[in-house]
């Protein structure tokens, strides 16, 4: 792996980091800010990716397509389609306790995946949708800059939201629901709003991803692979902390990519499967983090309430 190779690899690497960063920021709105444990990330990601793909690709043979709409319209569509989906999911899960919410969101991600797999008239099923061009015919490097621009934009957005009165109410709900309810705030409504916002950010990430890789299929949205990584990123970076989300995305993606190098070095006979070995390593990494430093690299900075146990 020479320097030129690494430099050439950078745009692709950074582009994926950017997309994962967006996903992590979206998850932070749900988990970090309101304590909603969404394992169904892949579902919203898929909704965004497929909507964008369907809207922006050329004439389709065997599936719904041919709209040929511009890039930004595709992204807007991704968010708009995600809105009602997230709203319905959020309504169902808004009042569920953490465990149930986790189970419910996995279920929903599964249903979305099954839907995508089955309804070939819409999504072309297992064969996927090819030919999702980058806007203005730009190359990987320029598109990566576009992605990073979106990352910056979303970061600013969620930071502003976090400091706003809305964000403070969300934090109050996460930390002490009974007290906040007693203060007259409609808990369910705020949680729903946070859930929808987070999901739409994820859908946006999905849309950007679709253009980035140019081809999507249900395989890319297997709930575990991507979902798990985003969770590791948020926890490693520091839940509740947007900067932590970005840092976590970068660091974990570097580690994840290194596992590919690591797996390549270990003899195949020893580990049987490279991809399985990488997941194994990341799983072990997460366990170590959870046992030793669950608050992550950048713990959330906020004043403790009187009598509160430190996290």
């Amino acid at each position: 792996m020479d320097l030129a190779g690494i430099v050439a690899y950078m745009p692709f690497f950074l582009g994926l980091v950017g997309i994962y960063a967006i996903m992590t920021l979206g998850l932070n709105v749900q988990w970090g800010m309101t304590g909603q444990f969404n394992i169904g990330i892949a579902g919203f990601f898929a909704v965004g990716a497929y909507t964008t793909a369907i809207l922006t690709t050329g004439p389709a043979d065997g599936w719904l397509g041919g709209f040929n709409l511009p890039f930004l319209v595709g992204l807007a569509g991704a968010v708009l389609v995600c809105l009602p989906v997230a709203w319905v999911v959020g309504r169902i899960t808004a009042n569920l306790r953490t465990d149930y919410l986790a189970i419910a969101t996995i279920g929903i991600a599964e249903i979305i995946r099954l839907f995508v797999l089955n309804e070939g008239w819409l999504t072309h099923g297992t064969r996927g949708i090819p030919g999702i061009a980058k806007p203005l015919g730009m190359g990987t490097l320029n598109y990566t800059l576009v992605i990073l621009a979106f990352v910056a934009l979303i970061y600013v957005m969620v930071e502003v939201a976090r400091r706003s009165p809305w964000g403070r109410v969300l934090r109050a709900i996460r930390d002490s629901e009974p007290a906040t309810a007693a203060a007259g705030k409609d808990i369910a409504r705020f949680r729903l709003q946070a859930f929808v916002v987070g999901s739409c950010i994820m859908a946006l990430g999905g849309g950007l991803y679709a253009h980035f890789v140019g081809f999507i299929s249900p395989e890319a949205f297997r709930p575990l692979y991507g979902t798990f990584l985003v969770w590791v990123m948020l926890i490693a970076g520091g839940s509740g902390n947007n900067l932590g989300a970005l840092l976590g995305a970068l660091v974990v993606w570097i580690i994840w990519s290194s596992t590919e190098l690591l797996a390549g070095l270990v003899p195949v006979a020893l580990i049987g499967s490279e991809s399985a070995f990488r997941i194994f390593l990341i799983g072990v990494l997460l366990q170590i983090i959870l046992v030793t430093r669950p608050q992550g690299m950048l713990p959330e900075r906020r004043p403790p309430m009187p009598g509160e146990k430190r996290p």
Partner: protein, 286 residues
């Protein structure tokens, strides 16, 4: 009509497997208060343990079953001692995430050790028994019988032994159990052992019915959780009922829906339960 009966038979077979998985999951849910996301992979590990015994010692599957159960019981207790015990006191959600990580670790370990392709316990197709126009695979009868026996054993344990009653007590009211002087850590260890053993059994039976694959457990996790919720958290008998109901619902749904949507049926029932009667059919503790 014949098709209906065959689907019902399949439903009972699947339901028996789900019931075994759900009983273990509900006990863990009840005593430890969290949804154990690695439960499906406990099933898979059990199935693969049995596979090793079958291939190395040339034994029939059912002889390998107790070995698999014991092995998984030990592994479950080990995982708890090594990992979960250290984060039990921190925050319940951390435990959830950790079980998620455990699931992936186990699944990838299976793939590394045994490989990712489909495997079976016995090669060859079984000839079904025929009762009139109805065909029943002998394996199906074995699965249901094995599940029934195990369920009876669990019932005996929970109602006739001191530890079993202590487990039910902790599931009912954790605080009072501590006040009563019931040794929480010991009960927790037994809960993992039994939960793990039952999961292993469910996995072996699943392997008998279909085939072995690293993701075999994860695919059933949602229906198992659905059965647990339907039956009431912490209610073993509810879990059995829930398992059978979900199993039959999943199989019968193929009359009107494409087969790929089977997990969605289980999920829909679960959501319905959470909305309409969250405490489950038999009122659960959470």
């Amino acid at each position: 009509m014949i098709e209906l009966i065959h689907l019902l038979i399949n439903g009972i077979v699947l339901g028996s497997i789900l019931a075994l998985g759900a009983v273990g999951a509900t006990m863990i849910f009840g005593v430890l208060r969290f949804a154990h996301f690695a439960h499906g992979d406990f099933m898979a590990v059990g199935a693969y343990f049995a596979l090793t015994v079958v291939t190395v010692f040339n034994l029939p599957v059912l002889a390998a079953l107790p070995v698999a159960m014991l092995g998984m019981a030990g592994l479950a207790v080990g995982i708890d001692q090594l990992i979960y015990r250290r984060i039990r006191r921190v925050q319940p959600v951390i435990l959830l995430i950790s079980s998620f990580a455990t699931a992936l670790i186990l699944r990838s370990a299976i793939q590394m050790i045994w490989g990712g392709s489909n495997q079976v316990y016995e090669v060859g197709i079984q000839l079904p028994w025929r009762i009139g126009p109805i065909a029943i695979k002998p394996d199906h009868v074995l699965i249901v019988a094995a599940a029934a026996i195990l369920v009876l054993l669990v019932h005996g344990f929970l109602t006739r032994t001191r530890m079993g009653k202590a487990m039910r007590a902790m599931s009912d009211n954790m605080d009072l159990a501590l006040i009563t002087g019931i040794p929480a850590e010991r009960v927790i260890m037994w809960t993992w052992a039994i939960g793990g053993a039952l999961a292993a059994a469910a996995g072996v039976l699943l392997g008998m019915d279909t085939r072995l694959h690293p993701t075999m457990g994860w695919t059933l996790l949602l229906p198992i959780f659905a059965a647990t919720i339907l039956g009431g958290i912490g209610r073993p008998y509810g879990a059995i009922l829930g398992g059978l109901v979900i199993g039959c619902a999943m199989e019968l749904s193929t009359l009107v829906l494409p087969g790929t949507y089977k997990p969605a049926v289980a999920f829909a029932i679960m959501i319905l339960t959470l909305i309409v009667r969250p405490q489950g059919i038999i009122k659960g503790s959470v």
